[in-house]
Subunit: 387 residues, 2 copies
């Protein structure tokens, strides 16, 4: 056994309607709080509810949250906190929570958010001072960032993207309340759910998979198999919403203990070249990546296929594994209600090489952790087949 570590200091409180717990949780934290919020919720009843639960505190709201959190916005948020705040509450999808996680570091440890991203030519800036309590309240079921040691940052000036990776960045608590996700539109529900599945699945097949990550992956994929189609067909299905909320958090735990692989590598590159949404870009390449990887990963693919179609258990393992690309393609199509192809996100044939090259440079970690190494030529072929 090689060394493996389990670490998630975040208390994950999951349920339906549990947002009310925010009052008791923030009680002992002192008077002054920063409320980092996705601007989508400005003026919403959810915003009003949160502010009501924080009554009696001095709360500053910060809503400069963009889909790809910019270092400049993080630094501006951190500057707000320097007046001596006591805690942070973050409400929104992955961007709001990632913004809050990064603000928490910059506020107490100085510098700029980008300094904490490790680069080839310099290490990440050291974190020496204690962070504030941070309560994460996800409103989508996808990134699982409430349970990870990551925060993705975009360098606004250099148009670069990087990730802060540190055990110190975990939120103190996460309130994973499926009720807040009930009004999520179908497309967002589908695309974030696919992202959550991809985290679990890629962590499961990747070279960093271990006893800890595997159980998070399996449990997340079971919940996804049971409820992903249902939650897209009927957003009011409470049970399915709860399943997907948990699936997302468990997916976060899975990548925090293993990592993403080729679908995230290609998917993120596609989003870099086109404007494809994160979940959609992964959906567009997942089946073809599975096909490419098939001979190297038969047993695990077979297991996953059987989660979706228990009747497959009667078939030989190879047949089970070979069924997976078709199962996923059909499911993603049913969930989103549209064909999920790279062409539908605007990718042109002459951009295929650019996607492959970006995957090999910016997302080489994903490529290298995949159970089958893809050459540049193979990447090009995979991406071509996803058009």
């Amino acid at each position: 056994m090689t060394e493996m570590t389990f670490f998630c200091p975040t208390e994950l409180i999951c349920g339906f309607g549990i947002i009310d717990r925010l009052k008791d949780i923030t009680e002992p934290y002192g008077k002054k709080g920063l409320f980092v919020m996705d601007p989508f919720f400005q003026g919403s009843s959810i915003e009003a509810r949160i502010l009501e639960l924080l009554e009696g505190k001095e709360v500053r709201t910060y809503a400069r949250v963009t889909p790809n959190p910019r270092d400049t916005d993080i630094d501006a948020g951190a500057a707000l906190c320097r007046e001596g705040l006591d805690f942070i509450v973050a409400l929104g999808g992955g961007s709001a929570i990632d913004t809050a996680k990064a603000i928490n570091i910059v506020c107490s440890n100085g510098g700029s958010a980008w300094d904490y991203v490790k680069k080839e030519d310099r290490p990440a800036r050291e974190i020496t001072k204690a962070l504030m309590p941070l309560i994460a309240i996800p409103t989508t079921a996808g990134t699982g960032t409430e349970a990870t040691r990551y925060s993705v940052v975009t360098n606004a000036a250099q148009h670069g993207k990087g990730t802060i990776k540190t055990d110190l960045i975990f939120p103190t608590k996460a309130l994973v309340d499926a009720q807040l996700m009930m009004t999520m539109p179908r497309r967002t529900t589908a695309l974030t759910a696919i992202d959550a599945f991809a985290h679990a699945f890629e962590a499961y097949i990747g070279s960093k998979a271990n006893v800890f990550s595997e159980m998070f992956s399996l449990q997340a994929m079971k919940l996804f198999a049971r409820s992903a189609r249902r939650v897209c067909e009927n957003g009011n299905d409470r049970e399915a919403r709860c399943d997907m909320a948990l699936c997302s958090t468990l997916g976060g735990l899975a990548i925090s203990h293993s990592a993403t692989t080729l679908p995230h590598g290609i998917g993120q590159a596609l989003s870099g070249v086109t404007d494809a949404p994160h979940g959609g870009s992964i959906a567009a390449c997942m089946a073809q990546v599975v096909r490419f990887t098939l001979p190297e990963c038969t047993k695990k693919f077979a297991e996953v296929a059987c989660l979706f179609q228990p009747a497959l258990k009667e078939c030989p393992v190879r047949e089970q594994a070979e069924a997976l690309p078709g199962i996923l393609n059909q499911l993603f199509h049913d969930m989103t209600g549209e064909p999920v192809t790279m062409a539908s996100y605007g990718l042109k044939e002459d951009q295929v090489e650019a996607v492959a090259d970006m995957a090999l440079t910016n997302y080489y970690g994903d490529v290298s952790r995949h159970p089958k190494t893809a050459s540049r030529e193979e990447l090009i072929r995979i991406i071509h087949s996803c058009l």
Copy 2:
């Protein structure tokens, strides 16, 4: 979905030969440490290795650790720390780690260990002051206490047993090093492994089982099914030792997020009436408890049976479930190398009622969380059948 919480702030570092990490881990903790140790290791090479890794620190060794940690010993240990220590290292089985966990509370929060056990007529004493960093180093693979919010305490004067339950008691880090377990004698290996399995299994079938506890349970039971027989047959089997070390830690996570049920209720009562070792007392009743519970828990029993005998997957679910008592009995027998009965631990027929009554009083929580409620008469019948 009812509310469910995941919480384990302990960093679990698992592997073979990873004990060397102790040096770096304690580096930033300050100069003065308490080393709580099972007296079994006094003069051993493991003790020497730990002290070597703590070189440069002022370390006081405390080895007043008994199989059922006494409040008086905990309080005496805490008194030692009050001179202003910086950290605690605990080496041993569940007793040494439970002793250290309780010392950590009493040292900084005063009073006696027994004050922190909630009683019917008074609440548990409040913990208001921060605890010291505690590094737990388990040397058996059974209790999983390195990953739980519990510490079992015996009141030496009243001969009572109770449990401190608090989120504040988790060790800071656990070094789960299978190498330290290589020399564990066969009988200890078997009995502690059975305890680990029982944690996972009981947490799985109990009324408090949830999405989090279930994945810990399943993963622990998979590892047990794969390696329990092997580790007993050949204690030098590294891979099997690693599996059992992880199984134990995951079992701890399972009960920390769910709880034990009837086998622990009866088993602990048996140990109260006779001197049966903990793991043995559970092994002696497990199969009969499963038989008693069979109609209420068919699906889960079937799943567990298939982990041990994959060929059962071809059979109807009921048949799979019905195979479980026989599978467990045979396995426990093979592991310990002896018939595991209550009579073999000295229980007489006229003591059966005493065991039932103790289970219904001291361990009522276990009885009540079991998937099938047992009346006094049924308990007597079960215990009788275990003679």
